[in-house]
């Protein structure tokens, strides 16, 4: 059994660790709160654009745009992968990266068939180590990213699709379900096929006959890239909220573990102390009986 002093030091250091994890948990909770507000602020923008695009494509049958059409031959697929810059977030990054890696290995025979756009340091290092083709990367995003920070990478990615570098673009991120659960999700960003399907279902509310200045094609031309970019930004905000959720629960379980550990250590400390006292009494008694 370890000595009394040893156990005491260990209790002390575990208590300190617990304080740190507890503080990190609370910081993450505050950040999660802000991230959720950010998502709330953003949603009206995306919904509005979607509404306008939907009403344009409903209003005139013959409107088409390369971004709305599935390409016949898919030569290269783009993947946007959103990870965090730092660890200590439980399985947040590991789960996502494993999923992406598996999916890519299933779908593609050679690295020429896909390209990666990686957000976050952990993801970048992961794919770099495996020599996978990273087309763009961005690290060191703020905890509450502004649209301007991501605009460049979103714009370039959408442009790469327009220039036929990519024939389809997927985004992988952790979707926020609740503060304690996230789900690895794959969404198709481009081409924007989902948009048309949704239209057919959701045509319940009467569509307005808009006047389009100068004409519907020009508007789609401008609006669709914005919409695709806003989808990317939306996923990023979602992923950020998940990150804080994951970090919060990881830190909470760390705090709980520290509590258990302190309990166990205190128990063995008391046992050791009692054993020492008993031994001392024994020594005194036997010493006294030897003298008399």
């Amino acid at each position: 059994m370890a000595s009394l002093k040893e156990i005491k030091t260990r209790i002390g250091s575990t208590k300190k660790t617990k304080q740190i994890t507890k503080a990190m948990e609370m910081v993450s909770a505050a950040k999660l709160n802000r991230a959720q507000t950010k998502v709330q602020n953003f949603l009206p923008y995306r919904d509005k654009i979607r509404e306008v695009v939907a009403s344009i494509s409903q209003g005139s049958e013959d409107v088409s745009h390369p971004m709305l059409q599935e390409r016949k031959e898919i030569k290269k697929t783009g993947y946007i992968i959103i990870t965090s810059d730092r660890g200590l977030a439980g399985a947040y990054n590991a789960g996502l990266l494993r999923y992406t890696l598996q999916l890519i290995e299933e779908r593609h025979a050679s690295p020429d068939e896909y390209g990666l756009v990686v957000i976050g340091k952990i993801g970048r290092d992961f794919f770099k180590k495996r020599n996978m083709p990273i087309f763009q990367e961005i690290v060191g995003l703020a905890d509450q990213p502004e649209y301007a920070e991501i605009k460049n990478i979103a714009e370039t990615t959408v442009q790469m699709f327009a220039d036929q570098v990519f024939d389809e673009v997927f985004i992988h991120y952790n979707h926020f379900l609740s503060a304690i659960s996230q789900e690895v999700t794959e969404d198709k960003i481009l081409p924007l096929t989902g948009l048309m399907e949704e239209n057919e279902e959701g045509s319940g509310e009467g569509t307005l006959n808009y006047l389009y200045e100068p004409d519907p094609e020009t508007i789609l031309e401008k609006l669709l890239p914005h919409y695709a970019e806003s989808l990317i930004y939306g996923s990023l905000l979602d992923a950020k909220a998940s990150e804080f959720g994951a970090r919060m629960s990881a830190m909470r379980s760390a705090t709980d573990n520290a509590d258990n550990r302190i309990g166990e250590l205190t128990l063995s400390y008391n046992r050791a102390r009692q054993a020492a006292i008993t031994q001392e009494i024994n020594e005194i008694v036997s010493g006294a009986s030897a003298q008399s």
């Binding site: 602020n41 923008y45 306008v52 307005l208 808009y210 200045e213 914005h226 930004y233």
Partner: protein
């Protein structure tokens, strides 16, 4: 006077939300004024100022391109970025203006950098304009 609900939304949140008598914006084809009961309309906007008139009050918003959607009694402006005069960082806009001017002198016409710098200059000038009015 009749009013209409007007919203200015950006990806970073709503910038304006309220009743106004008149909205005037700069579209890619020129200035456009909208009064209540306007026909439903969708059109892209250029870099410029939005003017929101309520009684005798005129509120300016600096806009860096976007869209306007007009419905019966509702106007929605979707912008990549939009700022009220009080939110504009004048020093930053000034720095952006100088940077853009420098780039314009260096870059050759017709190249992407030139067009980019031109847009940046427009945005900076627009912000300064709105902030100083």
């Amino acid at each position: 006077m009749k009013t209409m609900q007007t919203n200015v939304v950006t990806p970073d949140g709503s910038v304006f939300d309220g009743q106004v008598n008149m909205v005037s914006v700069k579209t890619i084809n020129g200035e456009l004024g909208i009064l209540p009961n306007h026909l439903p309309l969708v059109t892209p906007l250029a870099i410029g100022a939005i003017r929101l008139k309520k009684d005798k009050d005129v509120r300016l918003i600096a806009l860096s391109g976007g869209f306007i959607e007009v419905r019966q009694d509702e106007v929605n402006i979707l912008a990549e970025s939009a700022e009220l005069p009080s939110d504009i960082d004048i020093t930053r806009a000034r720095a952006a203006k100088e940077r853009a001017e420098r780039r314009l002198e260096e870059a050759k016409r017709d190249n992407i950098d030139f067009r980019r710098a031109e847009l940046a200059l427009k945005r900076a000038l627009n912000r300064l304009d709105v902030a100083q009015n």
